[in-house]
Symmetry: C2
Subunit: 357 residues, 2 copies
């Protein structure tokens, strides 16, 4: 069977970094058919929509999506429904990609890149499991209206609805417990149960699901405290599971702890293991087209794609090992460069990974 | 006129730290009448409610509230409406304390206490202005119900409502712009306008209010990015203004950047300058009663009380200067102790501040 992969480079540095990941995937001698389509601002320019029906169709009919990045200042003044980010939200929702896996790993050679003290972060290896299709991201009703009650009755107000149904919490819990079981057996569920009904509901279900995982130690933490503990002692975490909104904030905070967000991949999976794979960083329009962006997060996203959607874990291992090798060789793109290392371009980094394969 | 101050020590280390702040307030030779009342778990034990009507009445009839901390594990199994935190939420809501000011300051002598590299945080001095009586904290409807629409119709779901009315955003904007004007003229409004209607509404009003403050540079940042930038380069911020939920998370993250949360005060003000003043740290039941907690955050909260609710800025300056002096003298409670310093108890730290006054 041929694996079908939709390649959606997007905007900014998207094309350059995805190009390198495509080279890696192609070099593995797997039966892969790649097909490219526009997404984000690039798609808006061409089709008047950041996620054209043809792109969504292609994505749905693929085993996996290799995604670059979307966004550029020039689209900032568009109405929200036409902005590049809507493509990501649309893909997540339409494909039911509810499970976002975001590792925050600090490669030992890059410990200096962090703004944290090396002893606090070196060897960091945590996994954030973020629910991705529910919560206040998609909850209705939402909008702007005249307030019908409360102290500001009669005034204009903006409003959104946070909501989680039982199935949504159970299925992300399962993903998180399974992941913790394969790692160090520690799962921290982050919520705001002292204030939010949604969080108390979430927490109760986490506790219920935990009964099926006696080998995993479940703990609970309020989101404000989690934001603190990530700064204070991030290595005390193993797996964190949380809702869409808190996960957005905490996964970015955790990524930045490493100081090398150019190295961090992510996966967004649905119930049939279709997945969208993208670097954790953005489209960086300021350096687009200069061949200096770091392609490693995208290459590592391709490794996650091999592991989770194609079930080709041997190939995934090979790619990850190749990345470790190029780091060990001292090769660095500009974002992770430090004195004594060898500064390379985007495509040179791709060359090196291919060679190491 | 006699200033009336309600003293609410609360639980855990609350009493010890508030005692020291009371000594400081008393030593200033101002016409102050202090009256104490129970709050939090202590109040629940005595009156069956974390915020008894008599305590609320006292607070409402005071110029300011000096608050310790609430919470203890032994109350964790109580139904939510009886848990200690409800006292804080109740005071905020009933007194309309909508403006939370949380400085994150790193005293030069304590730079080592941070988990961040000294060059990243030394000299940090940012102010987070958090809206405190609106947002998803108090928005209705909220609860657990059978879902009436969406993909999980018919299932149980937890839900909450995020909402902000125009007046609520305008008044916190005003506080933030005024604060920025008195500082370095930079205001960063944090929201999630690429996803939330409430945020877009918030952002539009911030922009509108900014027209009255041409001397303040307003910028906007998404909350996920703000969580990252606080880790990467916190000194690039001056004043941050944000909603209740995002403010909860970001102000705690910012506090932890300093590594010395035992030093950080906070103020929560209403439209008539009544205020609740409390340390940014919690009740630390594990060290309660041992006379080792750091009273400086509470003493600095008393300084904020003098400044904002009593308009006694000379006295506030004196207290803050006294705190700087004891730090310069090398006195440290256990939480901020490092080799070479002189370790002191809670009351010894209070003695030293009194002496420095
Ligand atoms: C672009 C934006 C809508 C998105 C999100 O908030 O989920 C992004 O921040 C992310 O984390 O993938
Ligand atoms: C105790 C809790 C309800 C409270 C909040 O979330 O506001 C606390 O975290 C704070 O920041 O003062």
């Amino acid at each position: 069977m041929t694996y079908k992969i939709a390649v959606l480079p997007g905007d900014g540095i998207g094309k350059e970094i995805v190009d390198q990941a495509v080279r890696v995937l192609t070099a593995l001698n797997l039966d892969i058919a790649l097909e490219e389509a526009p997404v984000g601002g690039a798609a808006y320019d061409q089709f008047g929509h950041p996620l054209p029906p043809s792109t969504l169709e292609l994505a749905k009919n693929s085993n996996a999506i290799l995604f670059g990045a979307v966004g550029d200042w020039k689209y900032d003044s568009l109405p929200r429904e036409h902005r590049p980010e809507q493509a990501i939200l649309g893909l997540r929702k339409n494909m039911g990609l509810f499970a976002n896996l975001r590792p925050a790993i600090l490669y030992p050679q890059l410990a200096n890149a962090s703004s944290l003290k090396p002893e606090v972060v070196s060897g960091l290896d945590i996994l954030i499991v973020r629910e991705l299709t529910g919560d206040i991201y998609f909850g209705t009703p939402r909008g702007v209206r005249t307030a019908e009650d409360g102290a500001f009755k009669g005034e204009q107000e903006g409003f959104d609805t946070m909501r989680y149904a039982e199935t949504e919490v159970r299925r992300i819990a399962k993903i998180a417990f399974e992941a913790a079981r394969k790692r160090n057996g520690k799962l921290c569920s982050v919520d705001k149960a002292n204030v939010l009904e949604t969080s108390q509901f979430w927490r109760d279900i986490m506790i219920d699901v935990s009964k099926q995982y006696p080998d995993v130690a479940l703990s609970h933490m309020y989101v404000d405290n989690a934001a603190m503990q990530l700064v204070r002692a991030p290595k005390e975490f193993d797996v964190i599971v949380t809702g869409n909104l808190f996960g957005d904030i905490l996964s970015d905070e955790a990524a930045m702890l490493t100081g090398s967000i150019g190295m961090l991949p992510s996966a967004s999976l649905n119930a049939s293991n279709q997945g969208l794979y993208e670097p954790s960083h953005g489209s960086a329009p300021d350096i687009a087209g200069q061949n200096i962006a770091n392609p490693l997060a995208t290459i590592l996203s391709a490794a996650m794609l091999l592991r989770y959607s194609l079930n080709e874990s041997a190939a995934a291992d090979k790619v990850e090992e190749a990345v470790r090798q190029v780091l060990a060789q001292g090769l660095r793109t500009a974002d992770i460069y430090e004195e004594g290392a060898e500064k390379v371009t985007t495509s040179q980094m791709g060359d090196a990974v291919l060679k190491a394969l």
